[in-house]
Amino acid sequence: MIPTTVQPQGVWAWIWQRITAVLLVVFLGTHMVVLHYVPENLNINFLGVTARFKSVLYLIVDSGLLATGLYHAFNGVRNILFDFVVEEGKRRAITLTLFLIGLAFLLWGVYALTFFIQ
């Protein structure tokens, strides 16, 4: 039994955590198999990656995976923190901080990915 004074909230964050979870099982699974278990990809280097990045679609899919993973990871951390922090103000500060850090990593990651487009 968990005694709590927490207000019910954030049902959309909860739903999105489930949606991104299922997406990650499919796309992160594909990502790991393609990059680490396809023999011709085993030697990861710049030329090999640029060859795959020939289509803009690849950049979009990869950025999508990045955004999905970052959302799931940072919202997951938020879920853990919210089990210990119940004050509304502190929770808002946590959400804002995690959102900004996550957004910074997303922008930096997508920016880095564009370097693979030749």
Partner: protein, 123 residues
């Protein structure tokens, strides 16, 4: 009432172990992802910087580390499906059996992945 570690993690059964395992693996992955982004973004420094980083990470120690990562991803991913299943209203009554079955699948996939990676660890 203040929430403490004691009343957030109160159980002792298999379900609580699954919950703990999901938290810890999730936390590990949340730490890994930003590191992964930083490593791949060495490409901003040019092709040779990226290639040097990739070459460095081919060392057996890092491949071994990646095997740990594989285990963590398999545990978190498969147990995550279990959580989604429960949230859709299925299987809660059989949560322990489902956990054992999924972890067995994780173990099988890990052994396959490890076997394939082994030549890159024992070099």
């Amino acid at each position: 009432m203040r929430l403490t570690k004691h009343n957030v993690y109160p159980g002792r059964g298999l379900g609580m172990w699954a919950f703990w395992l999901h938290r810890l693996t999730g936390l590990a992955l949340a730490i890994y992802l930003p590191i992964h982004i930083l490593v791949i973004s060495t490409v901003v420094g040019g092709a040779s910087t990226f290639n040097d980083a990739m070459k460095f990470l081919k060392a057996p120690l890092f491949v071994l580390f990646e095997m740990g990562l594989l285990a963590v991803v398999l545990i978190h991913g498969l147990n995550g499906l279990r959580i989604v299943l429960f949230d859709l209203g299925y299987g809660v009554k059989h949560q322990k059996v489902i956990f054992v079955v999924l972890m067995f699948i994780a173990l099988v996939l890990f052994v396959i992945g490890f076997a394939i990676a082994l030549p890159h660890i024992l070099v």
